[in-house]
Assembly symmetry: C2
Homo-oligomer: 411 residues x 2
């Protein structure tokens, strides 16, 4: 396997891929804002107006001139005439003169000449038309100024931002009822292997049901892409060639889950190399599991040959395909997976010059969170099912020790 001799560490491999990709090439969709959760904003968005558009009371009480309350205390209150009520949602139908006030409601408007709101808790009612103020207010107190939330011309959110629930609220607040978001990348997934059958079928001796297509499709969905399972192709160069060429033509990204034998893996690499230019960027990453990874670019579209082992496939997907899908959507700063700290329960041996990832299960004992390695083989899907996340052994380390505090990357 001479192609595996000069392998790049994951970080450099990702940079090499990045240097061959034009980001934000997918075009855009115009989508109603309430359907945009998790989508990437296509362009910088600016506010067309001030929010709020009027001085808004932030407390229940009375709007008035602040200077009319100057020096007011419980012992020496200010007497104020109440001219009426300004209900929320309504324009004031009257104004106030010095020494006068209007009843004010949180979210409502002030009287036109008022410049502050005194909280109801700092007043005493004398009769229907008059109150005492027992604490002075400053100009602007208990008032949200026009544009204080966001002002006209200010950036609402930058292009490439992944929209969170509160962002949708912020967008509707400034009247953006539809949003231009990056089109979701379409990802074709081909599973290979003469032994692989559809999950609906019953395996004969020697056959196994497809695992990787379904895991990979769900990973694509979780990463903001649209997966298409293009089916299972046997270890046949011509068939795989045709399927790969068709898959690439109709998708933005092609992912081939390689067969697990060396000859099947090499066939995947050959097929990818034949798809077009520039072709295979690297064949092999300094990574375990996941070493026999193929990363290619064909006519500007990324193509991945993922190892057939489920554990390897998922680790390689998260390291390379997930950030790629974010780049294609114009996001320059992909999400990193959440991590938690835990005490390692066993030694993890590794080799310097290689990045190792080990699935772990999290448990809590004596109120301390612990990471228990799941030492299943990387060709077992249940190694992943039984794990809560991964522990990384960095490139320059020979392993990790029992009792060390480690960061667990959650799925």
């Amino acid at each position: 396997m001479p192609e595996l001799f000069n392998v790049l560490p994951p970080k450099q491999a990702l940079e090499l891929l990045r240097s061959h990709i034009d980001v934000q090439t997918l075009g855009t969709d115009l989508v109603p804002t309430q359907l945009c959760l998790g989508r990437f904003l296509a362009h910088d968005l600016f506010s067309d107006g001030d929010l709020p558009s009027f001085p808004r009371c932030s407390m229940d009480g009375y709007s008035l001139r602040a200077k009319d309350t100057f020096g007011a205390t419980e012992g020496m209150p200010a007497y104020i005439e109440v001219m009426g009520d300004i209900p929320t949602g309504a324009e004031p139908g009257f104004d106030i003169a010095p020494g006068q006030a209007a009843r004010a409601h949180t979210g409502g408007m002030l009287a036109p000449s008022a410049d502050a709101v005194v909280m109801v808790e700092h007043t005493q009612t004398i009769d229907d038309r008059s109150i005492e103020i027992i604490r002075a207010v400053g100009v602007g107190e208990n008032v949200i100024q026009p544009g204080e939330d966001i002002s006209v011309g200010q950036m609402v959110l930058p292009g490439g931002h992944r929209l969170r629930p509160q962002d949708l609220g912020g967008l509707t607040a400034v009247g953006k009822a539809t949003i231009e978001v990056a089109r979701k990348p379409r990802v074709g997934i081909i599973s290979t292997g003469d032994e692989v059958i559809s999950p609906q079928d019953s395996p004969s001796p020697g056959q196994v049901r497809d695992v990787n297509s379904f895991t990979l499709a769900a990973l694509v969905e979780k990463s903001g892409g649209v997966p298409s399972m293009l089916g299972i192709v046997g270890d046949n160069l011509k068939l795989l060639n045709t399927a790969a060429a068709q898959g690439l033509a109709s998708h933005d990204v092609l992912v081939i889950s390689a067969g697990s034998s060396v000859s099947a893996r090499d066939m995947t690499a050959d097929v990818i190399q034949d798809l077009g230019e520039p072709g295979v960027l690297l064949h092999g990453v300094a990574l375990r599991p996941g070493k026999p990874t193929v990363i290619a670019v064909v006519d500007g579209k990324p193509v991945f040959g993922l190892p057939g082992n489920p554990v390897s496939a998922m680790i390689v997907f998260n390291l390379f395909v997930q950030p790629l899908l974010a780049w294609l959507s114009g996001c320059s700063d992909p999400l990193t997976p959440p991590t938690v700290r835990a005490i390692l329960e066993r030694d993890i041996p590794s080799a310097p010059g290689r990045e190792d990832y080990l699935p772990v299960r999290l448990t809590t004992r004596q109120e301390i969170r612990r990471a228990e390695p799941v030492f299943g083989k990387s060709n077992l899907i249940y190694t992943l099912v039984r794990a809560d996340g991964l522990v990384q052994v960095p490139l320059d380390k020979g392993g990790l020790y029992q009792g060390e505090e480690v960061e667990v990357h959650l799925w």
Copy 2:
């Protein structure tokens, strides 16, 4: 506001709610496995068969009797006759006698009498029909035994488990092409306030566009529920009564985003109390922002009166509604939000006996992650838009200090 005098801390408030809720009451949906990402498994699932169903080669090489390699070294190799090839996906058409082997491929079957696989790297080819073995193998070496991934009768995944990408792969691997998952909770969302208008409309003076419905709907979606925005209802007791009763009848959970003035908030509490038994469980939580929260149960269905301020509404949603939606799906251990550690950039004052949450923005300076409080008012939606997460000041603390390491709960 006498109803706010006896307020529970968030943890006890959540326990009180929990004690009034029957979990897993929603019934189930039968869904194709590839559409089940993020859904909750309805019941414990067990494997109907062994995975793999046959002894499976985990390396390319030769299947043989391990004892035929006993003592083999480079200096004293074992000579073995190669009887043929067993391609992946195929049953062996022949068997081997002592001193014989079959060519083996990763993922393929062994010869019927073979009990180990010797890696091709540990062999030397003599001619078409014979090889030398230069390293001994033990029984079972380089073989995945039947049921080693998962065995017949073993639990695949427990009921209530939230399905991750690899779980879908694990389920298809054992032939589960459709899955019974908990039906998603239907959550009705009512926005109230005379000043609130639809985002499509242009606000007149005194009016603001609806923010909370859209934020809350996206939070419901993110939490695995199905949101319905039931519209904006003015501060009118009768209209709100009718809308709430109708919303409750056709949904599993009702969320009312209360008006922001005290009278509007009290109206929401009154409306909820009138919906049915047992009614309001608590009115007020020892929480800032978010104190004027109403939590109720009506005929077994939870009803929330959330504060009108966007920041309060989101914090209260995450503390109470999000775990509730998980319980209703039969999940006893709801996801906790991911956290990162950061150095606090400013003092955060608080008061003992109250849990405070402060939105913060994360920055990195001198390679240290820092949490910068976003000191916007809690009635500004852009306080949330500009923040990356929340810092919690625990119940028993009077505040947090600049320079302290804090945990930031990411959105």
